[in-house]
Amino acid sequence: MNFTDTNGRTEQMEIDASAKWPVLFIFTHALAWLIVGGALELAAAIQLHTPDFLADCAWFTHGRLAPAAQNALVYGWGFNAAFAFGLWLMARLSATTLRHGGWLFVAAKFWNIGVFLGVAGILAGYSTSFELLEMPRFVTFLLLAAYAIVGVWSVTTFSIRNTENVFASQWYLFGAAFWFPWLYAVAQVMLFRAPVRGVLQPVVHAWYVNGLYGLWFVPVALAAAYYLLPKILGKPIAHYYLAPLAFWWLAIATAFAGGSRLIGAPVPVWIPTLGTVANFMLVVPVVLIGLNLFGTLAGRYASLSGSMTLRFVFVSMLAFVLASVCNFAFALRGVAETVQFTLLYGLRDWLLFYACFSTAMFGAAYFILPRLTGHEWRSPALVRIHLGATVLGVGLLTGGLAWAGWQQGRLLHDPAVAFTDIARAMTPWLAFRTGGLALLLLGHAAFLINFVLIACPVFSPGTAPAQINPPPALEVLKA
């Protein structure tokens, strides 16, 4: 950049001022969905070990409640958080203000109306029964139209950038901004508008689900890690020359990896095999990204104690590696034979969505919100509760469900064990899962309170900008 340091700061404040209200507005919705979705998820989790819970009402039968919770979390919390974070980061990295932000309010409102109608539609019995595409067909256009505005804003902000170099986070955000609408539109057309026949439906579905996690949530999480690590540590990304290779390799291999979800399914066998090959190829970009991120952190692990954001991002990075290991292992036929259809099988998606993506968004929120509002976090205790609940909850759920899922798989594999005995063996673990989810919800509640205190003008004492320690200046990159 051609600005002196002071000018650079002023510009950042200008960008933050332009992004403030759209980002706060969208993030408020995200948090509301995080709580609502978490509550629904908790209720659905209770039903698994206490089948009588809410069983009398058709709206809350487990088959409707569980997908409703998942959709509320994914499309409500996940997408809103990604919108808020992505728009802000795109503006910051492109060194340009977020223009005509009023349209973003319209887009966010329509998106959230769409998600609300979708979740209510699932509960009312209009589900399509395709995981993550359960929302009834009538909300599709609403969601796509609302997304189009957000996507266009993100891409236009990128295209009017005032910087020479394009940073890694921007590639990931730019890619995700295009991949999601294409994935979603293609899946909608091929499954509902002009449905393909027979087992082609699961193939389209596997392609979509894999793409949603791997080409939308993971890129946004990586954008956060690539941005926040060097920013907070004040040093450039280690081995940055590897980052473009990692990006392209990850994109191409992930796009093909969906077939591995169909191992053993009645589809032409080349489809899962192609997925297995793609998952093997994914080892390279994961290692490269690991070199980038953990290499940047190497020798500076002490900084973790100084920054909440860093700690959340660190959890997210670990989860990314763990989920990649799961993806790789589950693509092996021998492993898939046992873990398919178990709690462990579902854990992989949860790791990608919650442990990797959501914690990255928490970290980003702890970084962004004080800068946007000009206030410090009011209650450090609540921040610590949130971090503690997240770390403990993610750790316990990952360990517990991995063990339980493996046991479940082994019991399922043995035809001598009656099915009800498996259910009985899983009951304590399903109760354990409820406990873990409750712990996470507690953390979310703490986060919500802190958010209301920092973002709501009523609680803000005056409008003087708070003291934010300016991050150390970046060394100049030679890209």
């Binding site: 698994l48 089948p51 009588d52 069983a55 009398d56 058709a58 039968t61 487990h62 088959g63 569980a66 997908p67 019995g125 589900s127 399509t128 029964s129 995981e131 359960e134 990128f158 170099n165 394009v166 590639w171 730019f174 890619g175 295009f178 991949w179 994935l183 293609v186 449905p195 393909v196 026949r197 027979g198 087992v199 082609l200 699961p202 193939v203 392609w207 392209w248 191409i252 796009a255 093909f256 969906g258 077939g259 979800r261 009645p266 589809v267 032409p268 489809i271 192609l274 036929r333 034979e337 259809f341 178990t342 099988y345 594999h413 043995d414 035809p415 099915f419 259910a423 009985r424 009951t427």
Partner: protein, 222 residues
């Protein structure tokens, strides 16, 4: 990378490649798969489901049964699906031509339902069994974690009216009370018709050889 246009084309190509390589290729390969006409009885298999069962498919879909139940039988030697009596053979792609919507599923907290209505495997699985299972799962499978679906049934007093022919015969422990009968609603009847229709009993001669694992080459042989 500095060029936005190159980035765009790269991003576009990454997804289009996988769409063409995976979905389009699969569509070209099995998109035109058709029913098989048995040379002996001249019937087209898989046979379409009867109308009531087709309505039941929509009930299965709206209640989200696929959240906990799969509908796929993995071939013998890969998992214990056949040994668990979830099917007499592994599933073929052709079996699924019958289904307008394919509920393959990814979670087996409940058992696989691909052959739920296959009375060769489950001789006890008549309509009464399914009604009881839906109304009070523990009355037919003690220890089951399946939620009851009481909203699929009407409970009304027997007094002063002719008892319903469809009323459930429940053990007293699960019955709502003396003088009351439990009658399945139209939705329950459709759902049970669908569950009873779930069976892949026909073994396609063309598929059997195609889906069998390749013979192991002899050691040292050519």
């Amino acid at each position: 990378m500095r060029n936005g246009l190159a980035l765009f084309f790269g991003v576009f190509a990454a997804l289009v490649l996988s769409w063409a390589g995976l979905l389009l290729t699969a569509q070209r390969q099995i998109g035109r798969l058709s029913q098989f006409k048995d040379p002996a009885d001249e019937i087209l298999y898989p046979q379409p489901m009867p109308g009531l069962a087709n309505q039941g498919r929509l009930v299965y879909q709206d209640l989200g049964c696929a959240t906990c139940h799969t509908q796929q039988v993995r071939r013998e030697g890969f998992g214990s699906d056949v040994a668990r009596k979830w099917g007499q053979r592994g599933g073929y792609a052709r079996d699924y031509l019958r289904d307008e919507t394919v509920f393959l599923g990814s979670n087996r907290l409940g058992p696989d339902l691909r052959n739920a209505g296959n009375t060769e495997l489950h001789p006890y699985a008549d309509a009464g069994y399914f009604y009881q299972l839906l109304y009070a799962p523990a009355s037919v499978t003690p220890g089951s974690l399946m939620p009851a679906h009481p909203f699929l049934f009407d409970v009304h007093p027997v007094a002063g009216r002719q008892p319903s022919a469809h009323a459930l015969r429940l053990p007293s422990r699960f019955s709502p009370g003396p003088g009351l009968e439990v009658v399945p609603t139209a939705r329950a009847q459709a759902l049970v018709a669908y569950l009873q229709g779930l069976k892949d009993t026909y073994d396609y001669p063309v598929e059997r050889s195609r889906n069998a694992p390749a013979a192991q080459p002899k050691e040292g042989g050519h």
